[in-house]
């Protein structure tokens, strides 16, 4: 017994104990960081801020924050460092908690909509507020929800949208060539960006307008 105590004595010195505890804590922190997703590590569920006004130019700015921040199926949380911090995720899987929105959550946040489908007011959602909203692209296409209405594609202007049953993108810049500049969360590989699209002339797409713009 005394031999064992003598052998263990160097290991029980305070400095050695502290070093061992520190290494254990470090490895646990590393393991936790490895398991954390972008959403669990960065995002929140804070209440949105009601805002009396909503301008199309201001919403363009909101949309541009999401640019280069990636795409996440069913997602709705991103920062503003122009890096997709959840790249190459499994396709059409929401549970992996990566960075970025999908097409309908980008539209929901940029259009400052309420979770209450009967509320047409304006609600500013922080970029790190993880929210998708109750609508999928097909719902937007049908003008579901008080803030949303189907609209003539020919008359669609900046921050109106084109929606199909599986996708929605907002007009960033209208073009006379027949193709518009569209800001959209397109797919895992292509992320969120501005793309040249012919949705305006594509019969599978309809026009959608967020009602209640201040200007």
């Amino acid at each position: 017994m005394s031999l064992l105590r003598r052998l263990l004595r160097p290991l029980l010195r305070p400095r050695v104990v502290f070093l061992a505890a520190f290494l254990v804590a470090l490895s646990l922190a590393a393991a936790k960081a490895a398991l954390a997703t972008f959403v669990s590590a960065n995002c929140n569920y804070n209440a949105p801020t009601p805002s009396p006004n909503m301008y199309r130019d201001g919403s363009v700015t909101v949309a541009l924050v999401a640019r280069y921040e990636g795409y996440h199926w069913g997602g709705g949380c991103w920062n503003d460092n122009d890096v997709d911090e959840g790249p190459n995720e499994p396709l059409q899987t929401s549970s992996t908690g990566g960075e970025g929105g999908d097409c309908s959550s980008l539209t929901f946040k940029v259009w400052r909509e309420s979770l209450n489908t009967g509320d047409g007011g304006h609600y500013q959602w922080g970029r790190l507020r993880n929210v998708h909203g109750p609508y999928a692209a097909a719902d937007f296409k049908a003008g579901v929800g008080v803030p949303n209405a189907t609209y003539s594609k020919a008359d669609a202007i900046v921050m109106d949208a084109f929606a199909s049953s599986s996708h929605i993108g907002m007009v960033y810049q209208r073009s006379t060539s027949g193709a518009d500049q569209i800001v959209e969360a397109k797919c895992e590989a292509c992320g969120t960006n501005i793309f040249t699209r012919t949705y305006r002339s594509d019969s599978s797409y309809g026009g959608v307008r967020r009602m209640g713009w201040t200007g």
Binding site: Q92, D102, V131, H132, G133, A136, S165
Partner: protein
């Protein structure tokens, strides 16, 4: 209470919690069991206001002689699932059981027996204005019914028409998170459990 007694009490309490957790995960129906009504066939056999409402919603859906419809009426909700072999899209329309007007809809990619996503819809609500969630489940080979367990209620969806089954939950909806959890058990012809899963679905795309 000495330390040993306290330890014993804690052990008994922990065992009780574990047993309770285990009980929640097995696949036996609890409470009331409700078996929904289902009808499946070619589209021309359906002349319901629900079908008309659904076709109005999906203007791009071109009905042909090969278009198949599965109509379900259950306790929490009613639905139409529509598929045409010429199209990769699966269309769903959701209704509250008492009404013929559409309250929600979904579109999924349906190719070679695979569905891209459960296509959760959370836009319907019950009479007390509680949100309802509807999603598709693809039946396992050999499955004859799908049971979805709620608190005090199990709703059984007979499998029909060779299409994904549109199932409903009220207790599993997390509206603020745009998601829902379904407690799903697939059963074979002899009532044997084939699979039991907690299906996590989110509004997406």
């Amino acid at each position: 209470m000495d330390g040993l007694t306290a330890l014993r009490a804690l052990t008994v309490a922990a065992a009780g919690v574990l047993l309770a957790a285990g009980c929640r995960d097995h696949a036996t129906p609890t409470g009331r069991v409700f078996v929904g009504h289902v009808r499946a066939g070619p589209v021309e056999r359906f002349h319901s206001p629900r079908l008309r409402a659904c076709l109005r919603r999906f203007g791009e859906l071109h009905v042909t002689g090969r278009t198949r419809v599965v109509e379900r009426v259950g306790l929490l909700g009613a639905s139409l699932t529509i598929s045409d072999p010429a199209s990769p899209w699966l269309y769903g329309c959701d209704f509250t059981p008492q009404r013929q007007s559409l309250c929600g809809a979904a579109v999924g990619e349906w190719r070679a027996g695979r569905l891209n996503d459960p296509r959760l819809d959370i836009l319907c609500a019950d009479a007390a204005r509680r949100a309802l969630g509807a999603a598709w489940v693809v039946p396992q080979p050999g499955a004859r019914s799908i049971a979805v367990r709620e608190l005090g209620l199990t709703e059984v969806y007979p499998i029909a028409g060779g299409l994904p089954v549109r199932i409903w939950t009220r207790d599993g909806v997390r509206y603020e998170r745009s998601s829902a959890t379904f407690d799903v058990t697939q059963r074979g012809a002899d009532g044997r459990t084939l699979t039991h899963e907690r299906l996590e679905a989110a509004v997406a795309g």
